[in-house]
Symmetry: C2
Subunit: 330 residues, 2 copies
Amino acid sequence: MTQPIPMVEIWRGDLLESQHMGHAVVCDADGQVVESWGDDEKVIYPRSSCKMLQALPLIESGAADAYGLTPEHLALSCASHQGAAIHTDRVQVWLNDLGLSVSDFRCGPQKPSDKDAHEALVRAGKEPCQIHNNCSGKHSGFLTLNKHLGTGSEYGEVDHPVQRAARASFEEMTGETAEFYGIDGCSAPNFSTSVTGLARAMARMAKPSGTGVRAQAATRLVDAMRAHPDLVAGEGRACTELMRAMDGKVAIKTGAEAVFVAILPEQGLGMALKIVDGGTRAAEAAIAALLVKYGVLDANHPMARKRMHGPILNWNGLNTGHIRISPAFI
Amino acid sequence: MTQPIPMVEIWRGDLLESQHMGHAVVCDADGQVVESWGDDEKVIYPRSSCKMLQALPLIESGAADAYGLTPEHLALSCASHQGAAIHTDRVQVWLNDLGLSVSDFRCGPQKPSDKDAHEALVRAGKEPCQIHNNCSGKHSGFLTLNKHLGTGSEYGEVDHPVQRAARASFEEMTGETAEFYGIDGCSAPNFSTSVTGLARAMARMAKPSGTGVRAQAATRLVDAMRAHPDLVAGEGRACTELMRAMDGKVAIKTGAEAVFVAILPEQGLGMALKIVDGGTRAAEAAIAALLVKYGVLDANHPMARKRMHGPILNWNGLNTGHIRISPAFI
């Protein structure tokens, strides 16, 4: 088994303070590995980085059209949003349109990571609810599919038709049978894949074969993500800032425990990486470096520099250190 | 150079999802390495884990007695507190007693990590100030020493007498000349040491030689930390919970970027560890495992189990995974 390689360094003064190791793969639409670092067969949970795969049945089943979902809905179904008003207002309307309520969600309540949204809740004396959960868009997609299928209320259980459909799409796109599954932060199952499998799935999202239902669904989801980077994550977040920096040409998505993927339609490529220790800052730096290497992100764009170089500021706003992409990586 | 070893594993379902590598050393009071893992000569920044070393001049100079500092003050001078009322109220009184104000601090404003304190600020429409900074106790100690010495207001600068004194104590205790320094989160300089140097310093805090000024100062600081675990960190925090679990027999302290130290007076031992990737969850698990191994923490104590085993709960409170100490470590 190939070992992970050093990918991202954290410097303070003239000393390398911390270091992150990882695995990364770039695949083409034929599913072939174009380039890899570390162990390309490493089995991981993609976590939220695979939400666009989990959303394929929402379109392919006809549910999205039956309920008049727009690109904004589709972007939210692929999102790990931060519970800002632009996210929660839209999720609330979506629920209303389905004739459902917050209590139909199974994702659990989560404090919004959006500062303004959180402070508004505190001032109003309210607790966060399931709409604020970063996965409430994905779960709105699950609920839409569930209503369309007419299946039972426990749509998050691994043997429920909604999750069976999500698993089937996931395995078809990765080209692998999932060896493991875990319960995600939002209580939905998350299936394992190799890093190569995840990159392959992203390449197939980037350049689907044929013109069938799968190809149409993939293109609609990727286009929705690229058109609405603010809905996929939120202000200040890597997904949103880097997608904007690439003028909507590329869709990218983070996952918990330091997974990151990218979908490059013009190049017909997919990327996937996992930082071994789960450090999100390193996953963000590493995906930016890969996007620069493949010519879709300007190395001098402020948002690229922010993730790849820092600076690391302290409570007084002083520059205390910087990020560096490890020479062993790129 | 010896490589770091696997120390802490993060499992989800039946898959090892993330893994943390590290270096650790146990030293005795003669400064000899008792046991080590990874590279015992690895040079690190101890960050906040060395606050008790930085506080030695506060006592040795006579400043602490001149200003009537109690064990509570001394515990706060070694603290990375979370800005709860029990911390900020005491820091405010300390400042008042010195005839100084918040604007004399140089640590910068920081949002309290204590939930109640943060929400109270939001409801009052107030911004966090420098008193909420997790280092405001350390900086109160610096200000006390500064006033006693009659030196200039920029007490955080590396060539200021307050920082020169802190550096001298640090180097005497680690037994090493600091090769690097960086600017810490609170803008004070932080000096480098090997992991062995840091463990050696902690052993000397645990069992100081002789009965001189240094020995008295070390014992007073360690006793203050052990007597006031709630002031050293706060509710829910590893330092506080693990010190309580050991009935005040051992002083422990976290540092940013996953450093952890322990001072074992009865055994005359010091411990220091650094997780390479800066992941705090792993430093907390690893120090708990070391404390269990050396017989000062009950492996079955709920607070030991919390750090060493989890469970990892999701937004619905479901058990989604667990922590495991790597077999390669302990």
